[in-house]
């Protein structure tokens, strides 16, 4: 049965990424999507955390770490899925495909723990999908170099030679765009992530869909998120 709202799949491969997950989830909890007919209510956001073969203790640590954000999730729900089977060794693609299997909403996306979205990013993409009937809507994400240490993250800023006053412009190479797809407009056989692409499974997925189906690129000129790299 199709659920209202949208599904977001997040992969977590390493327990050391917990602080990044916290920031990523926090930015997702800011993605309130007002219901078109009732501005006082928001569409639900179904967050699926796909764990890469975590031990029971590690999974408990993740659960405990995400508890702090629970009070904020009035319209969001977080579910953890832990891949416990010993095979395959590389779970990058299997976790995404498992995410496709377990999610039930019409609208689907995935995001990395190093990605942060601007408030309203998904609302904008969802509005474009509904307006245009496109199979997928994409938005611009830029790369930002940061220094991570524990739960402290400092963006690396080029300090101007004369003044420490000037905020830098949001510069950075474009990263993989944020996307939202409408499963109702895509055949099931294309809804699969595949291995082997040099730019990664998500890039392959987006490229393959964009070559075959209508894609809305309205927000490729507007910044919707940041991809943090060390």
């Amino acid at each position: 049965m199709e659920l209202a709202g949208l599904d977001v799949v997040i992969r977590l491969h390493d327990i050391s990424e917990l602080p990044r997950l916290d920031h990523c989830l926090f930015s997702l909890l800011g993605q309130s999507i007002p219901v078109t007919s009732d501005a006082d209510h928001c569409e639900p956001l179904w967050l699926h955390l796909m764990l890469h073969r975590f031990s029971f203790a590690e999974a408990q640590v993740v659960r405990s770490a995400t508890q702090a954000l629970r009070p904020l999730d009035k319209t969001a729900s977080l579910t953890m899925h832990n891949w416990e089977l010993p095979e395959p060794f590389d779970l990058r693609v299997p976790l995404l495909n498992w995410g496709l299997e377990v999610t039930k909403c019409r609208y689907f996306t995935c995001i990395g723990v190093s990605d942060l979205l601007l408030p309203g990013a998904y609302a904008k993409l969802l509005a474009r999908l509904r307006l245009t009937g496109a199979a997928m809507a994409v938005g611009r994400v830029i790369t930002q170099r940061v220094r991570w240490w524990g739960d402290v993250v400092l963006p690396l800023v080029e300090i101007p030679p004369r003044s420490a006053f000037v905020p830098s412009r949001p510069e950075g190479a474009d990263a993989l765009p944020v996307f939202l797809l409408d499963r109702a407009r895509l055949p099931t056989h294309d809804l699969v992530f595949r291995v082997g692409h040099p730019d990664g499974e998500v890039a392959e997925f987006m490229q393959r869909l964009s070559s075959q189906y209508e894609i809305d690129t309205r927000y490729m000129t507007d910044l919707l998120g940041v991809h943090q790299v060390l």
């Binding site: 920031h23 926090f26 930015s27 909890l29 800011g30 309130s32 501005a39 702090a68 954000l69 009070p71 904020l72 009035k74 942060l116 979205l117 601007l118 408030p119 309203g120 930002q144 220094r147 240490w149 524990g150 739960d151 402290v152 993250v153 400092l154 963006p155 800023v157 300090i159 101007p160 004369r162 003044s163 420490a164 006053f165 000037v166 905020p167 830098s168 412009r169 949001p170 910044l223 998120g225 940041v226 943090q228």
Partner: protein, 612 residues
Amino acid sequence: MISTAHAGPSDAQLAAVTVQPGVAGARPHPVLREGSAYPLEQEFSLELPLGYMPPPLPAPPHIAVVLHAFHLDLLPEIRAYLNHIPFPADLFVSTDSMAKQQVVEACFSGWNHGTLKVRVLPNCGRDVAPKLVGFATVHNRYEYLLHLHTKHSPHASGLAGWRGYLLETLLGSPEVVRGVFEVFAQAPRIGLLAPQHIDDLRPWIRWGANFELAAALAARMGIPLPRRAPLDFPSGSMFWVRSAALRPLLDLNLSFADFPDERGQTDGTLAHAIERLYFLVCEQAGFDWMKISTRGQLHDQKGVTAITGPEPLKRFLSRRCVRLSALRDETRAVEDHPIITAQPAKLRRALHVLWRHALGDALPLPHGRQLVIVLPDEAPGHDRLAESAYAALRRLPSGALGRVVATPKLERDGSDTIRRNVALRAGFAAGADLVLLLGAPGLMHPDSASALLRMSEAQGGRALLEGISLPQLAPKPVDDKDFTISWAGGPAIAVPRAVFNATGGFDECLLGRFAEMELSWRARALGFAIRHCPRALFLAAPGDTEAGPQAWTQGLRLAIKWGNAAAKADFMALLRELGEQPPEPQPDPVPVEWRAFADFPRDPAVVCRNET
């Protein structure tokens, strides 16, 4: 997370170390090698805090802190460290102008550990002449002194974390200082405790261009100094000392005329020569010296010795002190000019310790600290923000208090700046120690309130704090040692009571970020710190750009008030292009000596960019 593990020998291992005979009685005989300071495996330093609780002293030590304040922007940081002294301490501060004197006095206003004396002294002899000449008589009146100065080390970027390391080692916590005085109490023969050399500095432990000056001065004190004499000294010129241990140097009755005029020299002055003689002076006075380290600060932990009780401390003190004067037959290279390169991996350990300190991780929050969160005007999303603020308050540490209030309504129309000031007044009147002003609808991370309150406490309630708007699209440059920023703005600004009392809040003739910058600059001029709180996370949609005639007018007011002719001309030109007139009335300018705290941009347009 921070590793508290250390690789130095334990006191049990220490007991088993073979003592080499031959020099200085039963003390080990360091083998000095060319191209290095003492070999690390033989150069011991005492880890502080001690691994046991020292017994209370029979009476509080008689302490004077002698601080030379040249770079005033570092004073908030130093004041925060000085708060760790768990004993009464009188503070003697020197600086080089009347204008700076006022800022220093403002920065240390309310110093309640003891008396405060600020003196204007000639700008020569770096920190050494002001301390030894300007405050020579202070050394006669106090048994213990702490020598400090506002250390910048721009000449070698690899040493960027040096000041923080020195302060952390000398004053990192009350337990560190108690450890220092436990050593003084246990070993009356110890005259001076100085931080171990920071890793990146080791190649610089050389006479360099200072030998001739040092030898001449040493001769006046009766200290023979062969050209190839072994060398060690309190690098950075900050240390704890018994005044008696400096007596030979003080008895020279040096004057400011003995020191060359300040021309930005990085080596080869009398001050640099004296820095290299401190240990020898101490020995000449009949005392020993030793070096200290703070847990986890040094990349190379060899020789860093943890002590678990009074007896191991006595063993360490009896076996691990080196006398330079007993090693004069040793030889070592004299003239080296090493090139230091930054090594980020080595700095990380030290940085992480500094971060913990700056963020208040290890600091207990006193009972009853109160945070008031002021919500912005009602707008879509207001309720979610309010809920997230309440959620954040529920996660405050035990004993801390919190309230959420709405921005007050005014009887008459008033700007947002006026309303912010009203909110601040109301918050502090209600008993707040810290008032958090939220500027836009969004979401507050549940850990943000706690992070702000802790960081404020770590800064002694003397820092204006800025929360993070995620993602950080236009991040300001942040000092990666202590999270200093030049101004606090954006959707979340936390104002402590002391800042509000000293500044009166925002300038009500200014708006938005112009008012935020102005408050930050005034706070800096009055001796407060401006800090970025990396754990206080907020979500807020990017605001609209402020570019336009109103922004140029605001910029012009700011430029006039802060006496920046270039920025004034830029904003005037922008207004003329739009056919606008300059604002009337024009603001009164701030004192001239404050102008250095205003970081005006080269391009005035950037003032008005608004990416949160």
